[in-house]
């Protein structure tokens, strides 16, 4: 026993998988103490990109410091009028056939560029003349948006801030060299993974969802393994009519594709009843078959061994023979099967939820549900929000990767033919 554990701990594969898994588990357990926010709380509007957000309103009230940054002006210009905008201006001038000699997109050339723009751009004219490359609504509107932006710069860059809604509240004039320290702004929020389509903090949701998905995998794996083990042991040891009946049932389950069966059962359960536990139970109930079949074949080869026959002659009861004489011999196999069942349970939940058959969204987040909503709100198409689905995929991949690593690691330890 001791040496087995030692062997396991010395298996690099197992240890890598185990460490990844433990890190994830610890994160799930510890994270809520640091960020006690409700994972389903909607913070803002739709998909917000990852980053730290601070309240502009409060920033104005934070102590101001004077910082003379030499590149401030250039940075500002770059942010106000990025390269793409300058190129758009130049392209438009060329398409219109205006004189572009001496015009370029460098910081120094901006003034000349803007002058040429205001001399040449006229919304009605662009619409009427249909310049090459600028005849589509999308392009014309891009020009129009740019024009609006440029006009707002022209009307003065400095910002007057008024705090409070009352009339007569004093306005503060803010200059380009006024800085506030981020940790002195009353309200800031860090969103390392941005927000999802409901404006919920993706990281907090992801941690909670990982926990829920692990729970689903664990319940599903336990149910599937226990069921498979019982059926396999009984069928294998007792043989005869019991074996026939049990294997008949198992064969039915094998013939019908498991996932289709899963969808059908889950669909008929109805959304009302679809909680986390139901979800896990249904997955467990449809995935026990292969455990049962492989346990059975192992038991068949065990049941005619001498020590089993001895037990039989000694008049030991069936439960006793099974638990003391057979189970220990296949325990290592069962543990590995359990790990794989957990992994496939997590994947099954993700698949189900992605099809819109997951647990109710208002109750808990799960990895599959997060994927489902990301898909529904075009996170990878129109909304362009990688943070809403990529980290989820990564967690799903990591979970099943770590579990599979642990499984192969164990296999190496327990299976003499695979030992180095």
């Amino acid at each position: 026993m001791k040496s087995t554990f030692k062997n396991i701990l010395h298996s690099p594969r197992f240890m890598v998988g185990f460490i990844i898994f433990v890190i994830m588990l610890l994160t799930v357990l510890i994270y809520p103490y640091f960020v006690p926010r409700d994972p389903l709380l909607s913070l803002g509007k739709g998909f917000l990109a990852p980053g730290t957000y601070f309240s502009v309103y409060d920033a104005n009230n934070a102590p101001m410091y004077r910082v003379e940054l030499p590149e401030a002006a250039a940075n500002r210009l770059q942010s106000d009028l990025p390269e793409s905008d300058r190129k758009l201006i130049l392209d438009f001038l060329k398409a219109k056939g205006a004189d572009t000699t001496g015009l370029n997109t460098s910081n120094e050339g901006i003034e000349a560029l803007l002058e040429a723009w205001s001399a040449n751009y006229d919304e009605a004219d662009v619409k009427k003349s249909k310049y090459d490359g600028f005849s589509t609504q999308a392009k014309r509107r891009a020009l129009s948006r740019l024009d609006t932006k440029l006009k707002s710069f022209a009307s003065g860059v400095s910002m007057n801030v008024t705090r409070g809604d009352e009339e007569g509240a004093e306005a503060t004039k803010v200059s380009g060299a006024d800085f506030a320290r981020v940790d002195q702004v009353a309200n800031t929020i860090s969103l390392p993974l941005g927000t999802d389509n409901f404006g919920r903090d993706t990281l907090t949701e992801l941690v909670k969802a990982t926990g829920v998905s692990l729970l689903i995998g664990l319940i599903a794996g336990t149910v599937a393994t226990l069921l498979g083990l019982t059926v396999g042991l009984l069928a294998g040891y007792m043989g005869g009519i019991v074996d026939d009946i049990l294997m008949f049932i198992a064969n039915i389950f094998t013939v019908i594709p498991g996932f289709v069966l899963l969808i059908l059962i889950y669909y008929s359960v109805g959304q009302e009843a679809r909680g986390v536990v139901t979800c896990a139970l249904v997955i467990g109930l449809t995935s026990w078959v292969w455990t049962a079949r492989s346990v059975r074949s192992q038991v068949i080869s065990l049941r005619n061994r001498d020590h089993v026959n001895l037990s039989k002659l000694s008049g030991h009861s069936l439960p006793r023979i099974v638990t003391t004489d057979i189970l220990p011999y296949i325990a290592s196999y069962v543990v590995m099967a359990f790990i794989l069942q957990v992994s496939s349970g997590i994947l099954a939940e993700a698949q189900l939820s992605l099809l819109g058959l997951g647990p109710k969204t208002t109750d808990v987040p799960t990895l599959g549900l997060m994927m489902n909503w990301a898909k529904l709100f075009g996170a990878y198409t129109s909304s362009n929000a990688w943070w809403a689905y990529f980290p989820v995929i990564l967690v799903i991949a990591l979970t099943s990767f770590s579990l599979n690593l642990m499984n192969t690691g164990l296999d190496q330890v327990f299976n003499p033919t695979l030992r180095d």
């Binding site: 739709g46 249909k130 999308a138 959304q271 529904l376």
Partner: protein, 595 residues
């Protein structure tokens, strides 16, 4: 021998692959002559029978008062949701009512021709109505209560309305809907159809009618399970100066059949769809961030003209929902800004900009009621404290301390339902459920498949869905009256397969009087008074509550191939109706190939 056999087999395979490949190209449409649509046709078509409503041929058979799709079959008039006017198509000039609104006369354009070259006549219109009466199709069920008969008199169409006991027309407004919703079919062809089906109504409606005679600019080219295509009829009568003065620009119209919204969206961004009708979350990112040649009707939020308001209906058969305070409390607690920002990604005006009423957010309808008179009844949303107070005062409290309130000793458990896959509605229902949880009502979401959903909420009586979504009447000739009716009229009580309104089965005698009175009222001040009263009742009783404003069409175009699509305030007065519906079809005549 074996070598030869394998060689022959390989050759056979090669030939068949080549055959399949060439067969595929034979049905490919030339991109520069084809306008591709998206978001309308799901699944293969059943046929071309415009009399029937189960042909699943969305590109040519989609009759609706807000604008029928007149690609292949045409209506008398085309509705323009921008100005609310009816524009003549097969009809010539304006319709004329007699003084007591009991008879309408419509002239027929003498240029209008069928695809077989014969002229369209008033007889055809009369025959279309007779066929509707014979087959009891949707035209019949929609309008037989208002139209007594349609006859051809001296070459003109004369529509006689049905009369009430008092000798007044039941509803002249519905006759206007009839004008823009009904496809006119050829009398001779209808006779052929009746003859080959032995005048059997059910058989007539099931006939795929591949030989149907049409009057529109396009007809079926081919249809399979991947693509539905239509080709232009270059002899189309509408090319005459009295109508459009030209043929529509695209020679072909195509609609690929996609497996789901995502697939269609990917095709749209890749330029394989020119005109797309689907909700696209954060549509502005397509041009702002991805720099695609995609545009919506308006350049700014809400990007399209919102003409309807998806609504959460309360099922009045659920005892706890018969309590007015519960209905109002839920509606008060819902965070509408979040729905509009998150579910609609701001493609809807907010309720702060356009306060809730029975009107859609267009200026024309908003001017029809007195905003100040109903101010006290408005609610802003996200008012959890106010909602809790209202429930407390009504005696609906949590007496067993489980966090949920009870009604008559039982925990209040409600479901909030909408069809699965209807993204923005699902997100809205999530937010409604969250509001319920916040005020101590156990509301959870439920998303049945559309095929099931549609059979349940349209039943004359059901207790499966407690709070469920559907839209009231949108923009159409009879709006906003038709919307008031679809919100609250008891006309729909006890009606099975009810697609028209009052899905929650609400009853109020005063509102029924108002609904009966409005169509017969001509005095503008009186009309405003009636609409204001209707709004008051609606806001006070809360038989349902709108969750957002929404366009009838999510009109988005990709200008990779075609340009010249209608845009907001471009002076053309063409509504963003996907270039096909009602007066929106005028857009097809303005299209040009991109340079």
């Amino acid at each position: 021998m074996r070598k030869i056999l394998s060689l022959v087999l390989a050759l056979v395979m090669l030939v068949s692959v080549v055959c399949i490949a060439t067969a595929e190209t034979a049905t490919d449409l030339p991109r520069n002559e084809t306008l591709y649509f998206g978001g309308q046709q799901w699944g293969p078509v059943n046929g071309f029978n415009a009399l029937s409503s189960n042909m699943n041929n969305a590109m040519v058979i989609a009759s609706n008062p807000r604008g029928s799709r007149t690609i292949m079959f045409e209506t008398l008039y085309m509705y323009n949701s921008l100005d609310g006017e009816l524009y003549p198509l097969l009809a010539d000039g304006e319709y004329e009512w007699n003084d007591d609104l009991t008879q309408m006369t419509v002239k027929i354009k003498k240029e209008a021709k069928w695809s077989d070259g014969t002229p369209v006549t008033a007889e055809d219109v009369a025959a279309t109505w007779d066929a509707a009466v014979l087959t009891k199709n949707n035209t019949y069920s929609g309008y037989s209560a208002y139209i007594d008969k349609v006859e051809a008199v001296d070459g003109n169409v004369v529509i006689t309305t049905t009369l009430t006991d008092a000798g007044k027309p039941t509803n002249p407004l519905q006759v206007l809907n009839f004008l823009s919703a009904t496809y006119i079919l050829q009398k001779d062809w209808l006779a052929t159809l009746a003859a080959r089906n032995d005048n059997d109504a059910a058989k007539m409606l099931e006939d795929p009618a591949e030989d149907i005679i049409y009057s529109g600019p396009y007809h079926g080219y081919f249809a399979n399970d991947q693509l539905v295509a239509f080709v232009r009829d270059d002899n189309y009568w509408g090319a005459c100066d009295a109508m459009w003065g030209a043929l529509p620009a695209p020679k072909y119209i195509g609609h690929a059949i996609y497996s789901d919204n995502d697939a269609a969206l990917v095709a749209f961004t890749a330029g394989q769809i020119d005109v797309n009708q689907q909700f696209i979350a954060n549509v502005q990112k397509l041009w702002e961030e991805q720099d695609l040649p995609i545009a919506t009707y308006m350049s700014e939020e809400p990007y399209n003209i919102c003409t309807t308001m998806p609504t959460a209906w309360y099922n009045m058969e659920i005892p706890v929902l018969q309590v007015k305070e519960v209905r109002k409390a839920i509606a008060m607690a819902v965070d509408y800004d979040q729905i509009i920002e998150n579910a609609m990604t701001n493609q809807s005006p907010s309720f702060a900009d356009v306060p809730r009423s029975v009107m859609n957010p267009t200026d024309g309808e908003q001017a029809l009621y007195d905003h100040d008179a109903v101010k006290d009844l408005q609610w802003v949303g996200k008012d959890v404290e106010g909602a809790k107070k209202l429930l407390d005062e009504a005696g609906i409290v949590d007496s067993d301390g489980d966090g949920y309130r009870e009604y008559k000793g039982e925990k209040i458990t409600l479901n909030a339902c909408c069809p699965n896959g209807w993204t923005d509605w699902q997100a809205a229902m999530e937010i409604v459920a969250a509001a319920g949880q916040a005020i101590g009502l156990d509301i959870t979401t439920n998303y049945p498949e559309w095929s099931i959903y549609q059979t349940v909420f349209t039943k004359a009586s059901q207790t499966e869905y407690d709070i469920f979504m559907y839209s009231p009447a949108g923009a159409e000739p009879a709006a906003p009256w038709s919307r008031v009716r679809s919100f609250m009229s008891s006309d729909f009580l006890g009606v099975d397969n009810n697609w028209s309104g009052n899905f929650g089965h609400y009853k109020n005698d005063r509102i029924d009087e108002i609904i009966a009175e409005i169509p017969l009222t001509t005095d503008d001040e009186k009309i405003e008074e009636l609409y204001t009263e209707a709004t008051k009742i609606y806001l006070d009783e809360v038989p349902s509550f709108s969750l957002m404003y929404r366009p009838d069409y999510f009109h988005a175009v990709n200008e990779s191939v075609w340009t010249g699509f209608p845009e907001y305030e471009d002076g053309d007065n063409i509504p963003p109706a996907d270039c096909t519906d009602g007066y929106g079809i005028a857009a097809l005549y303005n299209l040009e190939l991109i340079k």
